[in-house]
Point group: C2
Chain length 246, copies 2
DNA sequence: GTCGTTATGTTCGATAGCGCACAGATGGCG
DNA sequence: CGCCATCTGTGCGCTATCGAACATAACGAC
């Protein structure tokens, strides 16, 4: 029943500076990088890389959200972390590992700029601001992963859903998520029914409204209250490490 | 009933090269670093740093094991990762964050070499092999964290105990762990009774024997079979990233 | 408008892990 | 040798989550 409006921005074209990391780079580095950046559209569900793949590019999301997911032998999965316009996908390139054990999958469709790994590393290997910025982002990512582990251990599905919605919301321009409960369940590594139940409670509490693959947050303060501490911990640490990106 | 023998090695003195990362550095870097390294004894339970502390040193364990632990507001905890002679404690220094949201606590007493953060960064900032090695180790650590998150989500206490024992075993010179079930429970973020039960099963299966704060693994292959895939994933990826450290 | 597909809602029994309470065992120390 | 702190074992009721099966609802294509 919520009147979801499709906001297809008329000619809203992306710029690299909408990614906080790119925006934070000094002008000379931006000038070197910009011509090498390629704008790509990331449709929902697209796999940027699979476990073990050599990473050919790194991606700087603009209004897309990408989840890093581990998929187990039996097909069950769990989200490790989530990346939006505050970060980049492809930290393994920076670390020198070239591949990771996780999958990167688009959780919310949108644009991203991508850069071939080689050219990314060329800039990193000037050992300047690029390297240092990327390292700080890496620590923010590590914090998020650590907190995911904690959250998986100790918190209820209800709380985790709140955390997950907040993390997504922070990376989107609106309060509307295009996302089925089934997909959320995959990310959280729980049953779809568990998400249905948790979403039902949030709806009754007047925090969200939703319908067939869309969710709108209508009371964010309440959502933050209902979330476990994990969201706040990650947010605070990310703001500390990357203060410009607030 | 197991005849635990206290193996206090007579004059078994530590050398920096017993830490795999230090050993893997080229000779010139080793020569620069060695005089700055300080051998320290890490007693069980010692906190190397608390959440939010500025990291004054980085630590290279020799025969000690250190756990990175997140402690929640209500006092409950969860292990994020574990570090032994394959790695170092203080990745946040490398990343430029200076502090982390987790606590580093000694899980198994032993020696470590420590290096003031400033001197560590002086070497890192030569942008040579030191930096690249540390980054690769960081990726291994990230993999371990990610797998911890997955394991917390999907696996039973029994399986997690197996994983945990294997991770510890890999970092120790013997098959004996000095470790109460209570402490293991803290690390895994579960009840002590849960660990008692799981340990009982392993004992019945003839995989371990134990008594009052000590555990001996007597059938490691079986332990690996009984563990979830998480152990193998981390092991394999660590070996890939740091092949010398096998 | 109808139909078919996909998303969401609901129920039910099974179970893993929790919190609590207390019993027993072990080993260090006086 | 015996005491006592500490570590380990066990039982009980409770709850969250699971797995499975099925009911209803919403949208999209025709």
């Amino acid at each position: 029943m919520p009147p979801f409006i499709e906001l297809d921005m008329p000619e809203m074209h992306a710029t690299p500076q909408q990614n906080h990391l790119l925006a934070a780079l000094p002008a000379d580095i931006q000038n070197r990088l910009l011509p090498k950046l390629e704008l790509v559209q990331l449709p929902l569900g697209k796999v940027l890389y699979e476990s073990g793949d050599t990473l050919r590019h790194v991606y700087f999301p603009i209004d897309s959200i990408v989840s890093l997911l581990y998929v187990m032998e039996n097909g069950a999965s769990a989200e490790i972390s989530v990346v939006g316009n505050e970060g980049l996908i492809g930290v393994a390139v920076l670390m020198g590992g070239e591949s990771t054990t996780s999958r990167a999958i688009v959780q919310s469709a949108g644009d991203a700029y991508r850069l071939p790994s080689r050219q990314f590393m060329e800039e990193v290997n000037r050992y300047g601001e690029m390297l240092h910025l990327m390292l700080r982002y890496t620590q923010a990512l590590i914090t998020q992963m650590a907190q995911t582990a904690v959250c998986n251990r100790h918190h209820s599905i209800d709380q985790q859903l709140c955390r997950w919605l907040l993390l997504s919301l922070d990376r989107l321009p609106t309060n509307d998520l295009v996302m089925t409960q089934e997909l959320i369940a995959n990310m959280l590594g729980v049953r779809r029914e568990g998400v249905t139940e948790a979403a039902g409670k949030l709806h009754k509490a007047g925090v969200i409204e939703y319908s067939r693959g869309r969710i709108r947050v209508i009371d964010r303060p309440r959502l933050e209250q209902m979330s476990c501490e994990c969201y706040a911990v990650v947010k605070k640490e990310t703001d500390r490490l990357l203060p410009f990106a607030v």
